[in-house]
Subunit: 469 residues, 4 copies
């Protein structure tokens, strides 16, 4: 589908200078302040149309978002391609059981004409229980990855051709969680060239989601991964950089994890020490079903458990670092961070209504304990679907922003758009850059960017002038 | 008791320049950036001793904090005065049932020699069930407020005299919640002079907590109110300003409200619209018992329900403002903010172990609903007691900070220390200044002050240099 | 409406002899076994039609049940009377927001023709916020109770006349909770004659619900009270006895209380001692709105808090009785039973979706504690509506049962049908008979009656023959 | 240790006749009532001393119970044997961290002299993480099962010899959950003789818990299994029958499962249909640690998930049976019973404080849903330890009870004491007899037995005489 950019077609470019200050540690107790005037240049020409291709369009997230956009057609319009097999979007919406029947009725006729394109299906990467549902697949199994890449690139070009004025295309993986690809074999995932070669030989460790990423990069589309698997192998990021496009990931951050990154940030920031975090989920949609197999769950578990690492590390008073990394006994682990477990289970009877039950056990003053138990009920797809919109809109803006420092050379955003991590559970960041999970910091980064684009300094809640006599 | 400031007795004063930038709205779509170099001057001479007088010392918070300080004596030392009546601190600690018996044993002998001073007791302001417990009171009931004021001032002077080198004294109200004082009568609470006159006539609407504040101001002590009643009538703030001292309040923010200000900030910030917040508490300590009467509960309820107001107001997309303020029908109220209720109940069997049960009902995408239920168990006093330390330490620092703008005139902090609101449920702010309840903003304000004091700019999670190609 | 009894029109009467054994305490440590053959006689002629008149038909419970019956019309048929004012049932169903829109659509046309009869409205007995909704009332306010009684009796007779073959009529109060009637004035509520006289003088303490009960008794209808107020003053029970009809009450037992009577029964039975029970509710339907005023809530609170009394009394090891009833200090109360509180709040945003949050604090082995927190979400009316059916069906059966002991005289069921207490929160029992709240006992009583009616002995899970070698 | 029976040494035997009635299905719609006079004979001579040997004495349950008994010495006395290796009970109690330090201090000196006997340790049956803790084991690994049996029998005989007057000995397995023994090989577990032969050859599928059972049977001791593994292979029950002793199992029923068997019984009994039950647990004691391995967890999971089977089967209206047992698709499973999952996780930071989080999703009237979420915190051992006492006391009584029917032949209780299932999660029953999990039925069976022993009929809550006019 294509998102219509509306009436504003300004040709202008806005330049905004902002004084950017940061601190540089220059000695044991010495910190030097570094100030630099940074100029932000924003291309104000918004695209007439933005194309959005969702991998897994017929899933709950895809069908929900599409129906919502149709329902809000005053703001948004889109077109669809036709395919031969497969469930149309109206039927997918009924299967999802997310939206109210009356709403579904009102968008049914329009959605009935939308049929997803065929996609590769590599059974080795998804749960065995998914095979029966995968009825709209390209032929060749996992033995013709080069052919699939050619087909996907052709589909992308045809999509553009069918929509004149569609300047930018965003591909979002909203499909199933895959198992983690094994990336330990040299010469497969470690560079763009290696990856392209591996596709030619249909290497078994090239996942379907990575293949979509390769197609997107080669066709100049931004690629966003809404599932937790390791789609972004080094070779894919390398390729996107070479092609001058962008990527973002991983895993839509919609519910339990979002709340957790807020609560732990709050607790640790207040000097209260979480000693145990137990997170249980169950859901009955196809996401839950796919995750009921161990390999797929493992990918998800990793993306959900790393979320407190940076907050723990931020407070060495509460969590003193330990010297002995070899000794992984429970006592030492206990000192290094909270016990943290994540469980996801498939319970058909609750459908798309996801249940999250969390317990936070916290050590407080004088060895006391505080126990916080949270029970959260929500339609999973109603939290995830709007994130897709937010991701695309923010990513699109970022493609139009450049900054220059004192060397007066304008640089684009990094290939990896880490600013999108507010909506993503396991933030992908440029290599060597720090991962930030704390949600309020992620949000403040976006807010401060918006301010910088119009020449305003970062938010400073100190407001010293409000505090003085 | 007095907190020993330790060995550092630097005489120096540190000056730190910081560029402070803010935005000024100059037209419908025009904002002008205002930059000013601000110099922060910190008096590095920390007091040799800091005196802390807790009103309600024998309550759970006071006895818990005292025992903790004794137990941590390596860092802290203190002296006590002797009084004739009243339960000693060791017995108070046993009654509180907060700390472990073994810990209590180890501090018992020291605490046994600490006996609270006598205090005024104005029965009209506290619950009827408190009379039996109030066995250490000054004579005169509520008919001799002038005499009480003189006695309290004498006690403060004696306290200072008994501890040479104690430069600063902090008085913290940790006692019972009083009913709200009625402040509608002109000429009673509206100026320092009026208030002092009202004390002379033992005006019935001058509360005990206000009287302590008057004594503190007149003796140059900082006064902090850890309960929710309206202690800080305009006349008391006026008096503190005239005396050049400081105040902060109201109501220690320890548990449920703190969590709420985080969760609602998160939800509203993420574009999710809370439509109902139901907060239930029960506890069995004397705080709960006192709050079981309606007038006292009303004061508490007010301090707990205003906590989401600024967050609701911050997002006019979620909560569109309404024109018709006269029409308070439920439909309109619904549009103006979430339904919000707070219940506190006295349940002796749970003792100091406070139970909070909250439900957040949130409207999400396409009219969907998300329900978050939270059950929180915690020893109330173990959350509140360390706040007293934090409040005193931060307030003490603030008394040593001055800033100057381009006019090069150094100004002290406002009489009302709004920066302490991170620890306080219903932040008292200088008149006309905005109230901020969002916890992360409150914390960032403190963090940015600390940075400014050493010449660093505010935290900016954007870190644009980490995001570039 | 009338419930069609179906095809079975047997004329027979079934006699079933059962040996009933019970124990009689005859000395300090002596118990004598009393065995008696009891003959149960059941009139097998089921009524061709059963009439059901719901007071508060247009409320959530009434409209939900009616729509459900329409939707299940294969089993049930009914007719309606027409009135001039008032919301029809289809509109009431929409207002209730309980059932799915599609279901509502399918029963709309039928329900549109059903309009409730007018009823008296005594504003003094319900919350002030109910006046705007009460738009279908008989004239005369509370000054013409005799006229209202005549009108109600006339309505009942007309109802019967309009439905030939309708042998039995059941009147169920599903309307608002009233405040408790004050019954301390002699000569008003204490006998049937006094009550009838009080109606003639429009005595202010004769409630609307009692007036309906009087009309029902005089017209030979069974009367069931689904709200918690003290409808069944002695004079009303007296009158029903005199008229040879039956009554049952009070207050539909649908959710939180039902669960509580199960959990406390389990805990106390297992030797675990509940020391505190905190029950919080909020809901946004009209029931919640009416209960938001103190007098109406008081009636509800009483019906909900007595529910554990018999279980506490059943285990004197856990809850030793105390001699000194005058001393109501907290320590003693603590010994006499658990701290128990019930809170109900009106939260419009959650509508008919009732939220119950309970905490059970239990003392276990060696002074340990167990904390059980329960969060329960349910459409209130979907739990209550089917209870109305169960109550009527069971009550109807009971009107056809008689038993005889060795004197061979057959006796009917008592005027007060205490067997219906499985569906009622505050069981009304014949004077001097014990109140049983334990839910499993209430259910076993019904099950054992059904068994006795076919000549089977009570359920005995011992099944000794299954335990032997 | 030995439990002292106290002063009552009656020699008498009590005979009590009770009329036992049951129903026999004799045709499609015909049921015949069968009445029989049953005589209960109770040997009133209580044992002077009862010996209790706990396997896993040094674990949390064993040490907690022992300390409690010491603390209640007025009622109970005991002796201990001395061993050479191993942690003494006082140290075990400290490790358990269940009881208050002061209580531990007061029993320390006495417990310090109690040292567990050595036991076999078959590493293949327990989690790998248990090896370091198993420091008090018999030599031979799992290669000398015959030698171990001889040693255990010798220990039992020595225990009896050391305590003159100790008539009865009870052996209770309170040790770790073992993995399930594989019992599919013929000629190993299927008869007493086969089992004894398998021990002679140290067959790898003879578990340690079964070996203890064999020793107990051969020495005439009652054996109770407090863990979930399949200790009671057919050959062991056969052997106990041959030796004239008794067994009971499996798995102490202390918390979450107990509550579940109550809630599901209540819901199904009330016509509400549970469609999903999700049960999550985490705990940090050694039980949790051992269960963190898959094989041990599997045994536990089975004992916890079968608990609703009989209740589901009891209501074919809610759960209609399905014909096609081969088709195990999710749709069909859904029709056959609720989705039911059980998760147990090891979280060291919470220690012995077990956390259970359950969600019950129930379908109610007209397709509505009710969601009940439960959060339960409890010291695991404080719930389990008193069960050991109850089990032994009830089992001891049952060894003194005989009943006779019309053939006047007295029969003992079956080898398998199914009446103990009130305290056991996965009730072991005599072969071919029905399993009852409903907790109130289990309790009523015990209550009715006690009544029968004194000649009273079963409890009948109908109390028809209370219901009549």
């Amino acid at each position: 589908m294509s998102l219509d950019g509306g009436k504003q077609n300004e040709d202008a470019v806005a330049f905004m200078p902002v004084v950017s200050s940061s601190a540089r540690v220059t000695g044991p107790r010495r910190v030097e302040l570094v100030s630099e005037k940074v100029v932000y240049r924003t291309n104000l020409q918004k695209p007439a149309k933005v194309g959005l291709l969702m991998v897994g369009w017929g899933g709950n997230n895809g069908s929900t978002l599409t129906a919502a956009l149709v329902a809000n057609r005053n703001r948004v319009s889109w077109r669809t391609r036709t395919g031969r097999h497969g469930m149309n979007l109206a039927d997918a919406l009924d299967r999802a059981q997310v939206l109210e029947p009356e709403l579904r009725d009102q968008v049914r006729s329009e959605l009935s004409s939308m049929v997803p394109m065929r996609a590769p299906f590599y059974a080795d990467f998804v749960a065995g229980n998914q095979a029966e549902r995968a009825d709209n697949v390209l032929p060749g199994g996992d033995g013709d990855k080069a052919g699939h890449l050619a087909q996907l690139r052709g589909d992308l070009r045809a999509f553009r051709a069918a929509h004149p004025g569609m300047d930018k295309v965003f591909v979002v993986w909203t499909a199933n969680t895959e198992r983690l690809a094994r990336v330990d074999e040299p010469g497969v995932h470690d560079s763009a060239d290696a990856l392209l070669r591996a596709i030619q030989t249909s290497h078994p460790q090239v996942s379907c989601s990575t293949l979509f990423g390769v197609a997107a990069a080669l066709e100049g589309a931004v690629y966003i991964n809404g599932s937790p698997q390791n789609t972004f192998v080094p070779g894919l990021v390398d390729l996107a950089t070479r092609c001058g496009t962008h990527v973002a990931g991983d895993d839509f951050k919609s519910g339990q994890t979002k709340l957790k990154s807020v609560l732990v940030d709050f607790l640790v920031g207040a000097g209260l020490r979480p000693v145990a975090i137990a997170s249980y989920n169950h859901l009955g949609n196809n996401d839950g079903r796919n995750l009921s197999e161990a390999a797929q769950f493992r990918a998800k578990e990793l993306s959900k458990t790393n979320v407190v690492d940076d907050m723990v590390a931020s407070n060495p008073v509460l969590y003193p670092p330990t010297n002995n990394n070899n000794n992984k006994s429970h006592q030492l682990m206990h000192m290094m961070g909270p016990d943290h477990l994540v469980v996801i289970k498939y319970v058909p009877a609750v459908g798309d209504s996801k249940r999250a039950m969390d317990e936070y056990e916290t050590e407080i003053f004088m060895g006391g304990r505080s126990t916080i138990a949270v029970h959260n009920v929500c339609e999973d797809s109603l939290l995830a679907a709007p994130l897709i919109l937010d991701l695309v809109l923010l990513a699109e803006l970022l493609t139009r922003v450049k900054t220059a420092g004192k060397d007066e050379t304008f640089r684009s955003m990094n290939t990896v758009l880490s600013l999108l991590s507010y909506m993503l559970k396991a933030p992908l960041v440029p290599e060597g850059r720090p991962v930030v999970n704390a949600l309020f910091k992620q949000r403040a980064a976006i807010e401060n960017l918006f301010r910088a684009l119009v020449g305003l300094p970062p938010v400073d809640p100190l407001c010293i002038e409000q505090r003085l006599a």
